[in-house]
């Protein structure tokens, strides 16, 4: 039973990370109907930027651990958001009215470009985060010894998701985002500046993705320049699982996929762990293509 609960909390931590990345996919898809393949690489940029900032500024020593890490997260999120906005402006905006396929290919090109730029900057080897940053303590939760970092990851992702949810549901700008996702033309007629909404979506999504990258770096301690695509694919699976275009759906889907994967790896087969999430994806698209909480995706032909 101990083993089961350890895997469950591990799954929740990984799932929280998937959910944060999935939010970026689902928001961009909701407003633009585009799979932003470069999103996984923005996540990797978050992880690498976090590493660089950690090792060059030593914020945690100057400001104390908590304040240092919060400031670090804010810096990483801001920088990755900036990359996302540049990407939108330079690559996706000119393609807004072209066929879907060109936008998809362009997104793939952006992904290849970002990934290889990172490789040229940092080299192809695996990099490690500075050790002993966080105390390697465990916390006793209901009689279960859980690593502190795992709790930090779960808490950080839940807080960010809650803030985003409230922002989108309660504020005026959030309402504009939801309106643009339902019908861009009608939103424009209602006086919503859709270009700004899209830019905003490309700031929020990458910021959350970047934060997820930082969390992965802190949680696992090592990063590689190609890790973005596997995380990206799984996060996209999570977004579909929850129903693409649906913000609560991405959160539920992410957490669920993380738990399924952790339990599958523990009890079924570690070697087939990555195949499992793709099987979940195919299964959900066959059985319930709308996802758990989402729109319809199959053509009735």
């Amino acid at each position: 039973m101990e083993h089961f609960f350890q895997q469950l909390t591990n799954g929740l931590a990984v799932g929280g990370i998937y959910a944060l990345i999935a939010l970026g996919y689902t928001m961009v898809y909701g407003v633009m109907k585009l799979i932003n393949f470069a999103h996984g690489d923005l996540f990797t940029y978050g992880a690498y930027l976090g590493m660089t900032l950690l090792t060059s500024f030593f914020l945690q020593d100057r400001l104390g651990l908590v304040a240092g890490l919060v400031l670090l997260a804010v810096m990483v999120m801001g920088l990755v958001a900036l990359i996302g906005a540049v990407l939108e402006r330079a690559v996706y905006r000119p393609l807004r009215d072209s066929p879907r396929l060109s936008a998809v290919v362009s997104a793939l090109g952006a992904s290849i470009f970002l990934q290889n730029a990172l490789m040229l900057l940092y080299g192809a080897r695996v990099h490690v985060y500075p050790e002993d940053l966080l105390p390697q303590a465990t916390v006793n939760v209901l009689g279960l010894e859980v690593p502190l970092m795992r709790i930090v990851v779960v808490l950080a992702s839940v807080v960010m998701m809650a803030v985003l949810y409230l922002f989108v549901q309660k504020t005026k700008i959030g309402t504009a985002i939801r309106a643009a996702a339902i019908d861009q033309g009608a939103a424009r007629l209602m006086g919503i500046d859709v270009n700004r909404v899209i830019l905003l979506v490309f700031l929020i999504g990458p910021a959350l993705g970047g934060a997820a990258g930082l969390l992965v770096g802190l949680y696992y301690g090592q990063v590689s320049f190609t890790m973005g695509w596997l995380y990206g694919m799984k996060a996209f699976t999570a977004a579909i699982l929850g129903g693409i275009g649906n913000i609560p759906g991405a959160m539920v889907g992410g957490l669920l996929l993380g738990v399924i994967e952790a339990l599958g790896a523990a009890y079924l087969s570690l070697a087939w762990k990555d195949a499992l999430s793709f099987l979940v994806l195919i299964f959900i698209l066959i059985v319930r293509p709308t996802g758990l909480l989402g729109e319809r995706v199959a053509d009735k032909v």
């Binding site: 060109s102 090109g109 698209l285």
Partner: protein
């Protein structure tokens, strides 16, 4: 087929026929790679270009073909070239089986599902499924093909085998383009609802397009296994599928000459810049973005069929 295209094909054939006589073994081998990728991209073009189905897991069918050949040859001793049709058939059956439940999915969802299928196949190969695939080391010792008593082993011998197959493929696929089947695929790419309304069985044609494309990819897998004599899951990764997707889109989706040009540019051109090997993919990504912004339809897009004036007049004159 227009006269300009026929002349281009004739010139290309002549140039390629003479190429091994003047090029060294390295460059002949580069052309062999171009030929294999051209075959794969032409087969993907049936699915992606003609039928408009976003398939980004094409490497899976390629892998099924290559592994079928390798297993039949190393376990049962079947001559490599005899395994060619078998590989095609197995890949087609596999495609029909896995595509059946997902064929109705809309554009990008199909894209994601096919990426998933490609990955599952690769992971299955790495995990030595049924104890047949040799795990991450792959299979080795595949026999060289023998044609009319001649053992094909040197690059320029493979060159003629591969490019003869390319020529045959180009001829057949041009015929296919003009056939009832090809027209039905184009119709359902442009407007699936109208196609269904006009009596085109959309689901069946989509499935057939998948099976045919997979069959050709499977046969290319056979040639690849014969050329390399060693195959491993590494050769059938996600990036392989992406590369094929790119060849089709950059060259001109649905256009056979475009796809051939795409194969030369995407596979051949980087070889000219080997000195900058590490920055190659960076430039590649950049080119993809720039090209899609400025030339969405690809380099040699498919030209729509226009009626000749004489046809129009004849139609008017008819009662």
């Amino acid at each position: 087929m227009s006269r300009g295209l026929l002349v281009s094909y004739a010139v290309l054939t002549l140039v390629l026929f003479g190429a091994p006589l003047v090029l060294d073994a390295y460059w002949v081998d580069v052309l062999n790679s171009v030929g294999l990728y051209a075959l794969l991209a032409l087969s993907l073009n049936i699915i992606l270009g003609d039928a408009g189905l976003f398939n980004m897991g094409h490497a899976a069918f390629y892998a099924v073909g290559a592994y079928t050949t390798a297993i039949l040859n190393t376990r049962l001793g079947l001559p490599t070239l005899w395994a060619l049709p078998v590989s095609g058939l197995v890949a087609a059956l596999f495609a029909a089986l896995v595509a059946r439940p997902v064929i109705h999915l809309r554009g990008d969802y199909l894209l994601i599902v096919t990426i998933g299928l490609g990955e599952i196949v690769r992971i299955a190969l790495v995990n030595d499924v049924f104890g047949l695939t040799g795990g991450s080391n792959g299979l080795f010792g595949i026999a060289r093909p023998t044609l009319f008593g001649l053992k094909i082993r040197r690059p320029h011998e493979f060159f003629y085998l591969i490019w003869a197959f390319v020529a045959l493929t180009v001829f057949l696929f041009h015929r296919l383009e003009q056939s009832r089947f090809g027209r039905a695929l184009n119709y359902l790419r442009e407007d699936p609802v109208a196609a269904e309304g006009s009596g085109v069985n959309t689901g069946r044609y989509r499935l057939l397009a998948f099976a045919l494309g997979a069959a050709w990819a499977g046969m290319t897998g056979n040639l690849y296994a014969a050329k390399m004599t060693i195959i491993s899951p590494e050769s059938f990764s996600f990036w392989e599928s992406v590369l094929l997707f790119l060849i089709v889109i950059l060259g001109g989706s649905g256009s056979i000459p475009g796809v051939l040009l795409g194969a030369f540019l995407v596979v051949g051109l980087p070889e000219l810049f080997r000195g900058f090997a590490s920055a190659r993919m960076l430039v590649f990504g950049l080119v993809m973005m720039v090209l899609m912004v400025f030339r969405t339809q690809g380099l040699l897009p498919l030209r729509t069929v226009r009626f000749k004036k004489s046809d129009l007049q004849r139609a008017k004159a008819a009662p």
